[in-house]
Structure formats: structure tokens, C-alpha cells
Symmetry: C3
Subunit: 428 residues, 3 copies
């Protein structure tokens, strides 16, 4: 069997995260690495045909080499839908194929050992409306696919996942080449034609984990997923103070230093060469390599990209792509005071999260005593000046500061108190 | 003997604290509870006639039931002075009566086992002017009462407390019904008439503790009083980390959790189900039930009403009615830099305290990195936005934020440094 | 031999530090004390002639008495150059003299046991331009002195230190009285004349430590120098919590208290009666006596003058003259986000330091949650209001605050959440 891995899709909705979705690292390895490793273990000996974009090609290749896969890479020059991606690889397709997404999180059980019939699609039952493809079901047969039907118009409670089996890959190619659509749904049109032509499409009902990655805050869901799989493992090449506290399922990589009074409560992953400073507290978070959390930092349920640094900050439920820096006293607020879910951007996109902090692209800097409001997004290499309260999104390479005119200067007859008076006051 | 408890007075000067004075909880029980329990223990078997307001009725009844008192409750519909309060209960008054305030803190010794004579009032010697009633004294006899004589016009250094004994309660009723005054001093006029009629009023000189509750910062004095009575007592149903520090007379109620690195220095009361987070420090404070002090909070000499929550805050000498919430980095300043006592409100009311933080009604929220200046008052359900420096009082249901125009945005040519450079800088 | 100590120079470039340079204390003793003690140990039995200013006289006398020196003090009424300073002492000069600066840090080895020849000057090799006097060298002979030649015009790589030996002090007096110059270089003119007259001036090449004190940030270099000499020494009259961490070469003087969770990482000097509060961290810093670091303060590589107090602050690479006070959450930033060295003042004076915090005169106060930018200078007795971000220098006795107009107030329909909802959110 050949596995067609779709790894070239664009991620407009991921702004300000620029890293291609499947290459975002978790626990030190990219999402693609984790997913291909899982398939390769479940279906040993398969061949991978990976459809990459020009941007993802190098990263994809590195992953395939590291996993020692039997693989070929195909480049899709423009991201223009699933059908186009599959057609990019048509010269390599022959016999049985299984089409999968590079970035969706699914349990290994979704990949079956014995596929039967000509076509088998996979559905998952949902509790509430999801903006994807729904499956028209009759018994165990698929009778149609409806893309984004809109809430209330769903043909069933079954959403189609991308784990599509075809006994004859070339037959699919034929259907794709004939299918026509104005919309971005040529693949679904081709499937409908198959059904019209009497081809039996079987439904596999999947009941495991499914975490799609559409918006940047989904990175927090994926982080939580990977953290939930951890067991405690501390590198012998890490230096931990005896006065630090490590509790629960914490993975600490080589070269890490943890100083006195620091507290790491699992599940947590602390990447290579990270420094966890005195009195810092890290909970339920993933730190990629080379991060420094200075004195008394507090990092909770966050994704922290490589080489980020902190000093006495509160970082809650935040997604920081990497090379992030925060001055002392900067706070990334994560909780609205009115009990509503966090809405993102001018379009008030509902994150459906009650807690969401900052979402920052690569290289963002936050000045001392600055604050960012829940769900704010900041483009790469931007600067939030000291003392600023940032309430709205900021584009790439922008700098926001407090105007000098906000201050007034006057003479000051300091009622200089003696030391002893102050000391008395300060004593307790 | 019947004890007439005045528990219906209004508390205009207590703004923004809305809870009726006698129902404010300390150590998990209302002031009324503490006071009636003390009287009941000192004078077992007495009957209580409690004059409540429509607002306090339920709370008063609950206290009386809990203490299993022999009691009756009378409702005074409008708060209109002490004489009116007593007259509300005239149908229940017969024989010996002792009139007391529901909220004043006095030692049990003020309630005597054997009262003698027809009338006995209680006075306390004061060092400086107090805006209350002064007693004209001759030997051990009261020769008159002067309400708020003004500084320099005091007839003596004896202020009249409310612990007034009358052998014949109905005789007092008669005098009250005949007394007339334009001012709020009918009770004192009635006493003067008694004296004119030759009734001998004896003076009991009291030398113990006396803490009146007129202004909200007096809650801090009462807190200190109750804390001074504590002995260490830790509920077996509390969970204390072995890496937490508990020192001195600390009472920890059931359901409390204290995390690693937290430090509680007595005297302190930590109410039911409170959570004291990592590295938090609590000193000389009363926390009512259900409070959460997140990471690295610092609470000193404060009254913290139920269900308040904190996260990396400094809370000094503050009175927070309850359901208070503070974002990370918010600071309630408590000390003027010019060594003066803290003045409160536009009228510059002198609190006579060198340290006084925020006084907040129920449900106040303070945003991340916001600051409040010493002695500021904030009405219930108001919001102090992130980064705001609040220098003046805020009414109920108000929101104060920084104007967007205070910021400027520009292009930013980030001199993005490499990770290694930063890492070198940050290493020590 | 007589040692002429120049201790009356002015220090315009030291603003906002007002303490005369040689009287600035390090490790509890003034710079003059350290320097004279070193000379006295190296050259026992010499006589000191100290040229003081009217301002330094008392301090100088105290030092000389404490060291039990054989000394005389001469007052130079106006600070007008080295020649004038020496001439102030001409009535005391006879025989061999050695002229030294009161404040430069030099190893003892610079003072030689056996001076030879008529005149011996001392030079140090420099790697890059220094704005001082350069020596024209031929073999081991001095052929001239060039004051501040400008970069690229240096006659050699040898900068002249002030450690000048004259076999016949009165001969120098004679030359000084005859020398004339419009500029502040009469001393150098006199030396040139000596050379012209055929007097052989020998050169001593010095290779040890040399730290001049010209700008206030040099105080940090001198602090590092003194700290580097420390060995761990903890006064038996200090009280250290068993839960505090003391690491490395830390000197703790008598009367010091160190509370639970505090961490002092050497080299550090903690002066008499200092209080190091709970969870505070102090690294590579000198605290003069009577300082108080409240809860969770973080002091790094800084000079902290006597009687300063802190409460949850970050103090990095800062020079605080003394009696400094900072409210909770105030941050003295020390690092530019663009990797440049810190420039100081409107004239953008390059400190050549990548990290430099605040430079504050005596009695400066910083409000809660205020921030100061790297390299800012603040004159004595000034106040930086709460929440202010100070980007530029502030003169003496000035007060800078946020304008009230920066805020807006509105009605607030608080979506008051119930306690249980919040509690659920806050639990982890």
C-alpha cells in the first residue's frame, strides 16, 4: 500500500504562526514526524508519497530521512486543494492507496490493517457543528459528502476525516481528472460521481482522538495531546538543583538546567538546553529547545517555541512561535473578566476557549511591565513597548509604544523621610 | 435580664462596603456572631432582643439560631437613631435591660455580672478627640451626655460606650417617648431628663479593648484584633505541602490547600477551601472562605472577603469585601512616599493610618499590571482596567481603562538578534 | 617618602551621583579607605598628605583616623587641576614624593618598594583609545606626555596612570610654579619642561588592574572588582533562615536577616542590618548597610547604596546612590532589545555596556509598576510615579506622573460570574 501524505496545504488561518503546520515542533519533533512515525509503526513496510510545497520540501525530507522511511516527495507548487495535491503525485500512484493529512492528530487505530472493499472513508461522530465535510450515511455505506453544509443542514452527525482508502488508486485519478467544480471541492465531486456510478464506498466509524489544526490556538490542544502521552523521563545530562521540585510526567532533555526553588508540574516537556530559573513555575506546557525562564516566571498550559526567554512573567495559555522575549513584569493575560469565551481579531472569531493568552509569531519582543489581552495576535518581529496594554492584533514588524505626551513632569518637594522612619514602616 | 442588641444601624460611612456592619465575617463568622457569643458566655441565660433592619433580619436570625440563643427579633424599618431602635422593641421590654451595639468590639469584662443602681453607663478614657458622646462626670456619677462636643470642648476625657444598664426598662421607654429633639440625639436628651429628675446614673469605668466600626479601614483594626486571639490550629482536612512554611498562630480551615514554597506567617486565618498557591506569602491577614492566591502573591495585613482570587499581586493593608479578582501583576499600593498618613476621598478624610491599601466593594476586578493608590475606594462590581493607575475613588459598576490614543504604532526594523547572542547575555 | 593623595577633584561626569568619588562606599568602606589601606600596607611608615576639598575634608579625615595613618590634610578650595592640587600642599612637600589619585583602582604592585632615578611615571598598555594622557616612550624613558590626543593620534599605546614618583618634591614645585598653560594641563607642561631640561624620566610599565572612575557606570566595574576579592564570611550576629540559600563568596555583615526562600549567589556583599526578604534573589551585587529587599525582589550585578528598599522589583546592572525606594512591581530594565550597547543621556554617550539599568541619585523613589529604561539617569530626590515608563533622564527634585487624561471611565455592566465558575477556571 502507498500512503499519500498531504503536506503542502496553506495555513492562512494560522496567522501569525508562519511555520508550515506540519513542521511545527512538539516535544522536539515536528508534527509530521510524529504522524509519519505513527503510521509507519502501524502499517510497517508501506511506501510514503509525500506531497510537499516548495516551502515544506526540505523539512519534509529531513523528517523522512530521520524516520528511514521508504518515501518519495512530490512538489505541489501552488496550494490549490486536495484533488490538485493528489494529481501532483499521479505518476507515482498505483494499486492500493491511503490518503492522509500531514497535520491532523488521530490515533493509530484510524489506520486499519485490513482494508476491504473498493473505497473506505472514515467518519467521526460530532456533538456540534464543525465546518468540514459531512458524510451521508446509509448503514455502513457512504451515500454522499456535503462540504460545510452549515449548522442545521448536516446530513448526519458524521464528519469525514482524511484517512481515505482506495483499492485502485488510478481509478481515483481518473475520477479526479474528470471532475469539475467552481469550488474547492473537486475531490468531493469525484467521490459523488463514484457513488452515482454504483461504486460501494464503505464507512469506517472512528471513535478515537481527532484534533484538527486550523487556527493557531489549536496548537494548545495538540500540545495538551502530546503532553498527555508523556511519562517522566529526566536526561542524565540535565542539571537539576536539589531544591527544585519536579512533579508528575515531566520530560527533561539533555543540557537543561533547573535552579533552586523552581517547580515543574507535569505533564511538561522541557527541551534541550533550556534554563529554568530560580522560583520559576512551569505547568502543563511544552518548551522547545533553548528557552530561558528567568527568575520567578510562571508558565501555564502554553506552547513555547525554541529560544524564547522570560524574566518574571506570567504566560498563560499562550502560543509563542519562537525566539520570543519578554522583559521583567510583562504579563500575557489569558482570562476575560466577564466569563465569556475569548474572541479573536476584528472579526471576533470565537476561539471557544475560556482561557487564551497571546499568539505571537517568531521574534516578538514584549517590554517590561507590558500586558497583552486574551487572544491577541502579534505578527513576527514586532515589539510591544514597555508598559503598553495591547488590546488588538499587531501586524509583522510593528512597534507600539506609549506616547511621551501621556506623562507630565513637575517640581517635587520630596518629603524625604529618614531611613529610620521608613525602616520602621517596612518592618513587620 | 434582657439584652437589647442594636443591629439595624446604617453604615453610610462604610462605603464601598455594603455588607451590614454587624454581618461582616471575621474568621468565618459574622461580627454579630462573635459579639453575641461573648455576651452569652459572660451572662448565661439572658434573653436577647435584637433590633434588626429588613436587610439584616435573615443574617441576624441565622446567627441567633446558630448560637441557640433565647432571642426575639424586632424590625426597625428605617434607620433613625438609637431611641427609635429601642422604641421598636418597647412591647418586649420589661424589667432589667442592657443595651449594646451589634458591631463594637469590647472585652467581655464590659458586661458586668452584678449591675447596681437604677442606671449604669459605661465610659472609656480617651487620649484624643473622638467624634462620639462624652460623659460629664462627678465622682462615679454621670451628670450629662454631650454628643460630639468638638475638639477642645470635651466635658471630660470619658467617651460613652454603648453598654447601658437600666433597672427598669419601661421607665426608659417612658422617657424616650417624651423626649424631643431636632437632632439625632433623643436618647441623650432622655438621659439628661433622667438626670434632671434626680435619677442617679452611675458610671462604670472600662479599661479594655474598644474598636468602633465607623469607616471601612476600621475593618483592619478589627481583623488585627481577631487575629491577635488566634492559636495555631490546622484542620486535618487541609492539604499542606511539606515544602510550604507555616509559622506562628495560623488557623487553617478544612478543605484548604497550601502549595510548595508558600509561606504563611501568623497570625493568619485561612478560611475553608482556600487555595494558597506556590511561592505565595500571607502575613497577618484574614482570608474568608474560597479564596485563591495564585503563584507568588503577597498578602499583608489585609482583610480578604470570601471567594476572592489573586495571581502574583501585592495586597497590602487592604479591605476587599469579597468576590474580588486581580490579574497578574496588579498591585494595591499601601504606603505614601512622603511619610504622611493616608487621606481618603475628595474630602481628604484622614484615616490616621500610615499604611492603607485599597478598599473595594463586592465583585471588583483589577486588570493585569494595574495599580491602585493608597486609600482609594472602589464601588462594587467595578473594573479597573489593565495597566491603569487608579488615584481616585470609583463608583459602583464603573470601568476605567487606558485610552487607545495613549499609544502610537510605527514600523519596526527589528534588530533581530540571534539566539546565541541573547543566550550569552542572559547567562550569568 | 610622602604620598600626595589627590582627593579633591570634582566629578561633573558622575551626575546624578553626588557623593564625592573617593567617598563612595564599597563593602561598607569608602573607596579612599580601600586605597589608602592598600598603600599603607604596601609602603609602611610613609606619610600621607591628602589634598581634600571643603566637601570631602570631614570624610577624608575620618578615613585617615580610622586607618591610623601618619597624615596631614590640605584643603584645595576650588577644584582646578592636578598642578593646583599639588601646589596647595607645597609647604608640606620635602624630599621624595609619590603622587596618587584617591579613587582609581590599582593593584598594590603599582606602588614600588624601591623607586630609582629622579622621576618615575607609570604607564599601562591599552587596547583601544582612552581619553587620558598618553606617554611618548623611548626604551624605558618618558619623552613626553600628550593629553587626550584623540583616537588615531596616540604617540604610543601607553596611558599614564597617576602614580608619579619624584626624588625631589620641591623641584617639582618649582617647575609647577613656572609652568603656564591656557588648558587644564599645567602638570603635563611642567613635566615636558623637565624633559627639555634633560631630566631623565623613567617609565614603570604596569600590567595589573586599573579601573578609573569617570562615569557613574564605572561604579559597576569597581563593584565587580571588590566582589571578586571576597571570600565567604557570615557574621555570627546575622540571622539566616535555614530555608534560605547562600552560595559562593558571600559576605554577610552583622545584624543582617535573611528570610525563607531567599537566595544569595556570590559574589555578594550584604551590609550591616540589611533585610533580605522571602523569595528574594541577590546576585553579584553590593548592598550597603540598612537595605531592605522585600518579597520576591531580584537584584543582579548592581550597586545598592545604603538604606535603599525594594519590594518585588527587578534591579539589573543599576547604580543607586542610596535611600532609594521602589514600590511593588517597579522594574529597572537593563537590556536593549536590539542588541546595542546602552547609550546615556541626550548626548548618547556610549557606556560600552550591553547591560545597564538605572543610575539614581540619593533619595529617588519609583512608584509601583513603574519602569525605567536602560541607562536612564535620575537626579536625587526625584519621584517616578506609579506606572510610568521613564525613557529619558530626570533632573533633581522632579516628579513625573501619568496624566489623568490618559484614562477613560464608562459604565460597566459587570458580567459578575459566580464564585464556582471562577473557581473552576482557576483550578488546575
Amino acid at each position: 500500500m502507498k500512503i499519500i501524505v498531504l503536506a503542502g496545504g496553506e495555513g492562512k488561518r494560522m496567522w501569525p504562526i508562519n511555520t508550515d503546520k506540519c513542521l511545527i515542533p512538539f516535544l522536539g519533533k515536528s508534527l509530521l514526524y510524529h504522524n509519519l512515525k505513527k503510521i509507519n509503526a502501524r502499517l510497517p513496510g508501506v511506501e510514503f508519497i509525500i506531497v510537499a510545497s516548495p516551502q515544506t520540501k526540505d523539512g519534509v525530507e529531513k523528517v523522512a530521512e530521520e524516520l528511514k522511511l521508504d518515501y518519495k516527495i512530490v512538489i505541489q507548487n501552488e496550494p490549490s486543494g486536495m484533488a490538485d495535491a493528489i494529481l501532483s503525485a499521479k505518476h507515482l500512484i498505483a494499486g492500493e492507496i491511503l490518503i492522509v493529512n500531514a497535520e491532523d492528530i488521530l490515533d493509530a487505530s484510524v489506520f486499519q490493517n485490513n482494508y476491504e472493499g473498493d473505497v473506505m472513508l472514515t467518519g467521526i461522530k460530532v456533538d456540534k457543528y464543525f465546518p468540514g465535510g459531512y458524510i451521508k450515511v446509509e448503514g455502513e455505506s457512504v451515500k454522499g459528502i456535503v462540504e460545510k453544509p452549515g449548522e442545521g443542514n448536516e446530513p448526519s452527525d458524521m464528519v469525514k476525516l482524511v484517512a481515505d482508502y482506495f483499492k485502485d488508486g488510478q481509478k481515483l485519478i481518473g475520477y479526479l481528472e474528470k471532475a469539475k467544480s467552481e469550488r474547492d471541492d473537486i475531490y468531493e465531486v469525484a467521490l459523488s460521481q463514484m457513488i452515482s456510478d454504483g461504486i460501494n464506498i464503505r464507512l469506517a466509524r472512528y471513535e478515537g482522538v481527532w484534533i484538527p489544526l486550523k487556527y493557531p490556538w489549536h496548537i494548545l490542544d495538540i500540545t495538551a495531546y502530546f503532553l498527555s502521552k508523556l511519562e517522566q523521563q529526566i536526561s542524565p545530562a540535565a542539571k537539576l538543583s536539589e531544591k527544585a521540585i519536579i512533579e508528575g510526567n515531566v520530560v527533561i532533555e539533555e543540557g537543561v538546567k533547573v535552579f533552586e526553588g523552581a517547580c515543574i508540574k507535569g505533564p511538561c516537556h522541557i527541551g534541550k538546553n533550556c534554563i529554568v530559573g530560580n522560583n520559576s513555575m512551569i505547568r502543563e506546557s511544552n518548551l522547545e529547545e533553548g528557552c530561558v525562564t528567568g527568575f520567578s516566571s510562571d508558565i501555564t498550559r502554553s506552547y513555547i517555541g525554541a529560544n524564547s526567554w522570560f524574566h518574571t512573567n506570567y504566560i498563560g495559555d499562550s502560543v509563542l512561535e519562537g525566539d520570543f522575549g519578554a522583559g521583567s513584569g510583562a504579563v500575557l493575560a489569558n482570562l476575560r473578566l466577564d466569563n465569556q469565551t475569548i474572541k479573536v481579531g476584528e472579526e471576533k472569531l470565537d476561539s471557544e476557549r475560556e482561557k487564551l493568552g497571546l499568539i505571537a509569531g517568531q521574534g516578538v519582543r514584549v517590554g517590561v511591565n507590558a500586558s497583552t489581552m486574551p487572544g491577541v495576535r502579534v505578527g513576527g518581529n514586532s515589539l510591544i513597548g514597555p508598559g503598553v496594554v495591547l488590546r488588538k492584533d499587531l501586524k509583522e514588524k510593528r512597534k507600539i509604544t506609549i506616547k511621551e505626551e501621556s506623562y507630565q513632569e513637575q517640581d517635587y518637594e520630596s518629603a524625604a523621610t529618614t531611613y529610620d522612619q521608613f525602616r520602621d514602616k517596612l518592618k513587620h
